[in-house]
Symmetry: C2
């Protein structure tokens, strides 16, 4: 078994370790979906759930809800539209807005998908126990309260010249 240096690199390694965990989970989710021979990507799950709840949402609403940039949503929506899982209409009140919603096909396939998600959830629940969910919440709270960058700036009373050049 190879030596894992990240663990020995102290604090410097934490962020890398979190990233590795995150990437690993993403990678595995992808594999699970692939093994199902479903033409579905992990991210889509969230979009399905969101639109099932809200019926119609604009691009920016989805982006904000999921914490992505709006171009990211546009790309995902494009893909999902190609596979006819989503459709959109222009808002009659505000023609800038695109209202995204699930198609008939989506609604038909939802029960099957939800069954799969239920199975995936069970597996995830074996990893994400109480403690770990607590950890997530704690981390989120800390970072939400004050970003790392801001903490750094305040800590050392440095002038933020990252944008000046």
């Amino acid at each position: 078994m190879k030596k894992d240096y990240l663990q020995t690199l102290e604090t410097a390694g934490y962020t890398a370790r979190i990233k590795r965990i995150s990437d690993g989970i993403m990678y595995d989710s992808r594999k699970v979906y692939a093994s199902l021979n479903l033409n579905i990507e992990p991210n889509w799950h969230l979009i399905f759930l969101l639109l099932k709840q809200e019926k119609k949402m604009t691009v920016t609403q989805i982006a904000e809800a999921l914490g992505f940039s709006h171009p990211a949503i546009i790309k995902i929506v494009k893909k999902m539209k190609l596979l006819e899982y989503l459709e959109s209409e222009t808002d009659t009140k505000d023609s800038r807005k695109q209202l995204i919603k699930l198609t008939k096909k989506s609604l038909l396939e939802l029960p099957k998908l939800e069954e799969e998600w239920e199975k995936i959830k069970k597996v995830l629940d074996t990893i994400f126990d109480e403690d770990i969910i607590m950890l997530l919440k704690k981390l989120e709270e800390k970072l939400a309260h004050k970003s790392l960058f801001q903490t750094y700036i305040d800590y050392y009373k440095i002038e933020d010249n990252s944008n000046t050049f």
Copy 2:
């Protein structure tokens, strides 16, 4: 304050939340380095530490140590070479191997860099307290023991046809 849907989306949201935390930390680290007007990227930190310890390492060794693919390391090394932080020589015993090491310039700048890292460490330590590090270890252990994908396969005794189509 906008509603955070990820929190309401149950298990489906965990992986997305971890990713968000991870991305956020990365983003902020980048900002800290930018504010220092140092031409250094966060990832490089680990390479510096590693090579300071080990003196000379091959591309694949670095990749394994840090959990990246080898092409990723090649790219990073290329950049660092351009700025003259790294240099490489071909192994005399095995001419396939490139031995990467720190340059004089790196060694000269190290004290200053280490001073900065020390400051960054202090800030990170305000986030990564005992509890969080414990849980991080726990998560890593769980995932190291058995990947999510494997858990899934075993759980449902599915044949892995993710590579077969």
